[in-house]
Subunit: 221 residues, 2 copies
């Protein structure tokens, strides 16, 4: 399938691009607000893949170009850029599934805390700004971008995935399962996104408070 | 140390009692609103331990008896019984550390959702109702009681622990680490309890939506 990573020049986009580029046969396209930055990132990721002995065929361009003809469009942007990013590609989404991995967080003296938008979760916000008929799936919220981008690092992480459109959810579960070391888990409907997103600040707090732990993901067993 | 499990006749109390009874040298005391029920549960747990070749020395009684002279008092009661339970033992707490493992949840069509009390978390509520000077630690929120009580089952779970009193938190971390298959992790201050508690409905939703998964716990790596 064709997977667009909008904002794919950022750290979570880089990690997903490198892993999907190495472990799957999907066509990965890096989108950016500036076409040239998207192409440049794609070139860098292909160089990284080549240095790990993998064939790099990642493409890049402006966000609307990346979204056009994509089967899955991942909103790999900070929560506060979500609405703008969806608006910019709204006419290019076609039959794509929109994937929301972003989490809203804020810091206080204790550490990081979940700070959802008024919609209840960033995933729910994505459903509000998505064009009619475009299914939204929540996924990839709990991946540590740094570890993801270290291709030699083993993951062993679970990816809880939520969606109200079963076909769309299954497509994204297959995408996640295709990455070595990730296991997709069905976490039910979109209303369950809140508990998934709020796990991310916990992962960061645990890494901050326990020597030897960093770039944490999660597994359920 | 002496560990009181108030409401220890319930499922999470049973699991903690059996595991601590088998894996540690602590004196475990089951508290109940009725002394006779506490003693009866202790006898049953001792029989279970004996049938697994472990020496059972679990004691039982009314909640205030159980709390008296305890080093750690675990509030193994549903969230809505928390305040009553603390009130009942307030004069017996002495130098004890109070541990809050409860989580508030409610169900809708999608599954279970985190439903914190006005205090922000059940752990925070425990600090509000605890007598002055009694330190509160949040722990054991994410343990599947059923698996805990199956003594032959391996766990491999992490226990995120929060507290503002470092000595109290360390005491509870040692207690958790003493159970085979549990690893205590420092999750920072009490304000971080919300993200830990909200993980529990996610565990239940994942078990409900994925064939073959049940009684889930979590590990961070």
């Amino acid at each position: 399938m064709r997977v667009a990573l909008l904002g794919g020049t950022g750290d979570i986009g880089e990690g997903l691009a490198l892993r999907m580029g190495r472990d799957t046969d999907h066509t990965v396209v890096i989108g950016s607000r500036e076409a040239e930055r998207g192409r440049q990132a794609a070139n860098e990721y292909n160089d990284t893949l080549a240095s790990h002995g993998a064939e790099g065929a990642i493409e890049g361009g402006a966000n609307p170009e990346a979204a056009a003809r994509a089967d899955v469009v991942v909103l790999a942007v900070p929560a506060y850029h979500l609405a703008d990013t969806v608006d910019a590609v709204a006419d290019s989404l076609g039959e794509a599934v929109l994937v929301s991995p972003a989490v809203g967080m804020q810091r206080d003296e204790s550490g990081l805390h979940y700070n959802p938008p008024g919609a209840g979760s960033v995933t729910a916000l994505a459903t509000q700004v998505a064009p009619d008929g475009v299914p939204v799936v929540g996924a990839f919220h709990n991946l540590a971008a740094g570890r993801l981008a270290e291709l030699e690092a083993e993951l062993g992480w679970d990816v809880p995935i939520v969606g109200d459109d079963d076909d769309a959810k299954k497509t994204v579960m297959r995408l996640a399962d295709g990455v070595t070391g990730l296991r997709a888990l069905d976490a039910g409907g979109l209303d369950n996104a809140t508990e998934i997103e709020s796990l991310t600040p916990l992962l960061i707090n645990l890494a901050a408070n326990n020597g030897g732990l960093h770039d944490l993901g999660v597994s359920f067993h």
